[in-house]
C-alpha cells in the first residue's frame, strides 16, 4: 500500500470542560501558592523590620543621652569661657590699679608722704602730705605727663605733722 501522509498537525481549537477546569484549578493553586509564599516572605520581612525598629529605638535613646551630654558640655564650655574672660578682665584691672598705685608712689617729690588712695572705675582719689604747694604742683604735673591719669582738681585739707595735706582728684582717661 502506498503510504503518503500530507498531514500537518494543528493545535486543538477549543479546550474541553475538563481541560478548562484543570487549567483553572492549576492557575488557582499556582496563584494561592505564590500569594502564600509572598505572605510568608512579607511576614519575615515585617519581623526583621520590627527588630530593626527596636534596635533603632535603643540607638535613638543612646543618641538622646549623648545629645544631652553634649549640650551640658557646651554649657560648661561657655561658662568656662566666661570665667576665663572675667579672670582676664580682673587681671587687667588689677594690673591697671597696681600701675596707678606704683605711679602715685614713684612720682612723689622729696619730703612728700603718700597717705591713701581710692581707685574707682574711671577716677582716682588720693591723699598726700607735702612741705609746700609747689611740690604738689610738680607732682601733679608728672602724673599728668605719664598719660595714665589726668588731674581734675587738688585741694588742701589742712596740716598734719607740720605738712600740708592735699586731696587730689584724678581722671582715668
Amino acid at each position: 500500500m502506498i503510504q503518503i501522509d500530507l498531514a500537518v498537525r494543528r493545535r486543538p481549537e477549543k479546550l474541553t470542560s475538563l481541560q478548562f477546569l484543570l487549567l483553572f484549578l492549576g492557575i488557582l493553586l499556582g496563584t494561592s501558592l505564590i500569594v502564600g509564599i509572598g505572605l510568608v516572605l512579607q511576614w519575615n520581612s515585617l519581623n526583621n523590620l520590627a527588630d530593626e525598629i527596636g534596635e533603632l529605638g535603643v540607638k535613638r535613646d543612646s543618641l538622646e543621652t549623648l545629645e544631652a551630654e553634649i549640650s551640658r558640655y557646651k554649657d560648661l564650655k561657655d561658662s568656662h569661657s566666661e570665667l576665663m574672660l572675667a579672670m582676664e578682665d580682673a587681671r587687667k584691672d588689677t594690673e591697671r590699679r597696681l600701675d596707678i598705685l606704683r605711679l602715685l608712689r614713684t612720682e612723689l617729690e622729696p619730703g612728700m608722704k603718700f597717705l591713701s588712695c581710692r581707685i574707682g572705675p574711671d577716677s582716682v582719689i588720693t591723699r598726700c602730705l607735702s612741705p609746700s604747694n609747689v611740690k604738689v604742683a610738680r607732682y601733679l604735673e608728672e602724673l599728668s605727663r605719664s598719660g595714665l591719669l589726668r588731674v581734675i582738681e587738688s585741694e588742701p585739707q589742712g596740716t598734719r605733722q607740720g605738712l600740708i595735706e592735699h586731696r587730689v582728684l584724678l581722671k582715668i582717661p
Binding site: I2, Q3, I4, L6, A7, V8, R10
Partner: protein
C-alpha cells in the same frame, strides 16, 4: 475504527471498516445546492462526527496544486535516494519548501531499480481542508494515491490497467502496471453534466484518454483493462464505451468487490477514495 471521509463538491462519502462487533459500513451525506460553503460543510461534518462518534479518520486531498509523480531510481543508499527524490520534487513537481508539503514512499524494487511515489501539496490547502473537520486526521492521503491503493488492494492490483475516477466536477487518472502505479494525474476542469455520457462527452473523453496514455513510457502502453469509478460509473455502459475508445475492455470498478459491507447496490463505485483512506488508517 478508522473512517475514510471523502468530500466531493456535491456530497460527503464515508467508509468505516469493521472492528469487533461493528460491521463495515459506508454512506453519503448530500450537501444542499444552495449552501456549499465551508461553514456549512464544517457544520455537517461536526454533526456527523458527533452522531457516529468518529475519533480516527483519514481524508483524501485533491484539487489544484496537489501533484503526484512516480519515478524509478537506481540508487540503493538512502541518502542518494533522497537526493533523487529532492531532484524530482524540485524539477518535476515544482516543490517549494516554503509553500508545499512533500511526502514520498519507496514502492517495490524491480531489478536494480526502486519505484518511488512522491506527492506535493500546498500547505495552505492542507490547512484549509483540515480545518473543515472538527478533529485532527490520523493521516491525509492524496486522492491519486488513494485511488491507486484502492486498485492495488483489489483483484486488479497485479494487472496492467488504467482507471478513471470521474465525478461530476473532478477526475483522477491512474495507471497500474504489475502491482505498481506508473502514472497518476488529476484531470482539471471536469464538468460532467449528465451521469450518462453523451456523444459529445464521449468524444472529449476519448481525446483526453489518448493524450494521457501518451504520457506512459513506450513499453508500458500495452494495458489489459480500462476501469471506471465515480459518479460516471453509476451507468455501467459508460465504462464499456470509454474502454472501447482506447481499444480496451471497459468495466466499472467496485472497491467493495469481495468485501462484506453495507452498501446500496451499484453505489460501491462511488467509494474507492473513501475506502482506500479507511484502509490507510488501519
Amino acid at each position: 475504527m478508522t473512517y475514510g471521509i471523502d468530500i466531493s463538491e456535491e456530497e460527503i462519502r464515508w467508509v468505516r471498516l469493521p472492528k469487533g462487533e461493528n460491521p463495515a459500513a459506508c454512506g453519503r451525506i448530500l450537501i444542499e445546492d444552495n449552501d456549499r460553503s465551508p461553514r456549512r460543510i464544517r457544520q455537517v461534518l461536526k454533526e456527523f462526527f458527533s452522531r457516529k462518534r468518529v475519533s480516527r479518520f483519514v481524508f483524501p486531498l485533491w484539487g489544484q496544486g496537489v501533484r503526484a509523480r512516480v519515478f524509478a531510481s537506481d540508487k540503493v543508499d538512502i541518502s542518494e535516494l533522497e537526493d533523487n527524490v529532492a531532484w524530482e520534487a524540485k524539477f518535476m513537481l515544482e516543490y517549494n519548501r516554503h509553500r508545499d508539503v512533500l511526502s514520498f514512499d519507496p514502492l517495490r524494487s524491480v531489478g536494480s531499480q526502486t519505484w518511488i511515489v512522491a506527492v506535493a501539496a500546498p500547505l495552505e490547502m492542507i490547512q484549509r481542508k483540515s480545518g473543515l473537520f472538527p478533529k485532527n486526521p490520523a493521516h491525509i492521503e492524496a486522492a491519486l494515491t488513494a485511488l491507486a491503493n484502492a486498485v492495488l488492494r483489489s483483484k486488479w492490483g497485479e494487472k496492467d490497467i488504467i482507471i478513471l475516477h470521474l465525478d461530476r466536477s473532478r477526475g483522477f487518472l491512474v495507471v497500474v502496471s504489475h502491482g505498481n502505479p506508473i502514472l497518476m494525474q488529476e484531470i482539471p476542469l471536469v464538468n460532467l453534466k449528465e451521469t450518462r455520457l453523451s456523444e459529445e462527452a464521449l468524444s472529449l473523453w476519448h481525446d483526453e484518454l489518448k493524450v494521457r496514455r501518451n504520457f506512459l513510457p513506450q513499453d508500458k502502453r500495452r494495458l489489459d483493462h480500462f476501469l471506471l469509478s465515480g459518479e460516471a460509473a453509476l451507468v455501467p455502459e459508460n465504462a464499456r464505451v470509454l474502454g472501447e475508445c482506447i481499444d480496451l475492455a471497459g468495466e466499472v470498478f467496485d472497491p467493495f468487490d469481495g468485501v462484506q459491507i453495507e452498501c446500496k447496490a451499484g453505489e460501491g463505485v462511488l467509494f474507492p477514495l473513501a475506502y482506500a483512506c479507511a484502509l490507510r488508517g488501519e
